[in-house]
Symmetry: C2
Subunit: 224 residues, 2 copies
DNA sequence: CATTGTGAACTTATTCACAGCC
DNA sequence: GGCTGTGAATAAGTTCACAATG
């Protein structure tokens, strides 16, 4: 404990359930759309309605991190967006490395959504000699053996793993050894990462399986 | 109730929590790797260990759907894999339509992981005239106006939405009108779908935000 | 007076622990 | 002896409901 009176804007972050963080990023996305539509404030019930949550859920989630609302008014979009970005850690730029410039890797290099949220892919890596040396969407493709060297110079904190399943763990180990602290993994394997390194996995076939389960068992409207 | 004695292999599927289904597909993936490695049986504790769950969790999840284990032995991989595929609905082929052959759409067309799990993208759609008529990875690209027509002939049940956010709802409405019953959405918006249609959203920037939260708040090992 | 923030009630999910089985 | 399936116990997450508030 640093102070006797708990600071409402910075509660113990490791006690926050993952589901809350997931919803937080959903709130952020929706708020950004709302701002685009010129809306100035939104109530917890309106926001919840758009995303399929209750008003209480929205308020509780946000209350984990501070007092962002205004009684009688709701939440001011322009105020809440930077607050959530701060919580998520995206109130600054993150430099990202990509490993694997196959099909998916190339799509990630061109994906605009990353830049919009402050992510910049600044280096890509491959084993295939024919891809090395190329520049794709402004990003230089290095040989994978250069990974540690390039990362040591560029202050890259996040890694995208877009290699075949068999190579994913090996690549992950290299990223970790090079000091990366978070990984987004597109290979269909569960990666082992050391304590202190975070990872999230995106497996497209698994996502579709969630859909087929719901379809085969009629009426599960599903995760966002 | 259809019978007095509850059938253990087919419980009410809509009562199964989404988180269970999500883990189920993770079990499936791991089991498929295990078979590839020549392992014949696995215990709930071993399987749990590999994925970061408790043994009880694994057993409870599977017990939702039937009696798949063998006391003293564990689960037989070759037996459990088809059982889970049946539960998830992937014990058959699913025909899939893709809308949007930009960056991401093209990557999806070439993605091998879909085919491995029984998904076949059989038609793609675009607005941009220069892409229409093309064949990418063996998949014909039709004009979006042909969507309803093509889908009516091909028994396509799932749709992949890989268009810009502004067009995603419109495209979704068309897919739904054409009889699709499940949607995997890559656009960074929350889609509205009618009752009875299932959807799952994959927002790459949001996934990365889950990583940055964990990194910015040290030690949340993260999903998967 | 619409709307937040929040304890208390409730619901859902996870883990424990052990009888039953191979 | 090793391991499952499961009811009971515990923990976590969600909703209710209402006092506080600009």
């Amino acid at each position: 404990m640093t102070s006797s009176k708990p600071n409402p804007s910075r509660p113990d972050p490791s006690s926050v359930p993952g589901a809350v963080v997931n919803r937080l990023s959903l709130y952020l996305r929706e708020l950004q759309h709302l701002i685009g539509d010129g809306k100035e404030t939104i109530s917890s019930s309106q926001l919840g309605q758009r995303l399929g949550f209750t008003d209480a859920q929205v308020r509780k989630d946000l209350a984990h991190f501070g007092h962002f609302g205004h009684p009688g008014i709701g939440y001011r979009c322009e105020e809440l967006v930077p607050a959530i970005r701060h919580i998520l850690g995206t109130d600054r730029q993150w430099q990202v490395a990509l490993v694997g410039v196959g099909n998916l890797g190339r799509a990630l290099l061109g994906y605009r959504g990353f830049q919009k949220q402050g992510f910049r892919i600044v280096a890509a890596f491959e084993v295939e000699p024919e891809d090395v040396g190329e520049t794709i969407d402004g990003v230089p493709v290095h040989h994978i053996d250069q990974l540690e060297h390039v990362l040591s110079e560029q202050d890259i904190e996040l890694g995208l793993v877009a290699v075949p399943a068999e190579k994913a763990q090996e690549v992950t180990d290299k990223l970790v050894a090079s000091g990366v602290s978070g990984i987004l993994n597109f290979a269909p394997v569960t990666l082992a990462v050391p304590e202190g390194v975070s990872k999230v996995g995106v497996d497209l076939a698994r996502e579709l399986e969630q859909v087929t389960f719901a379809v085969a068992n009629r009426g599960n409207q599903g995760t966002n």
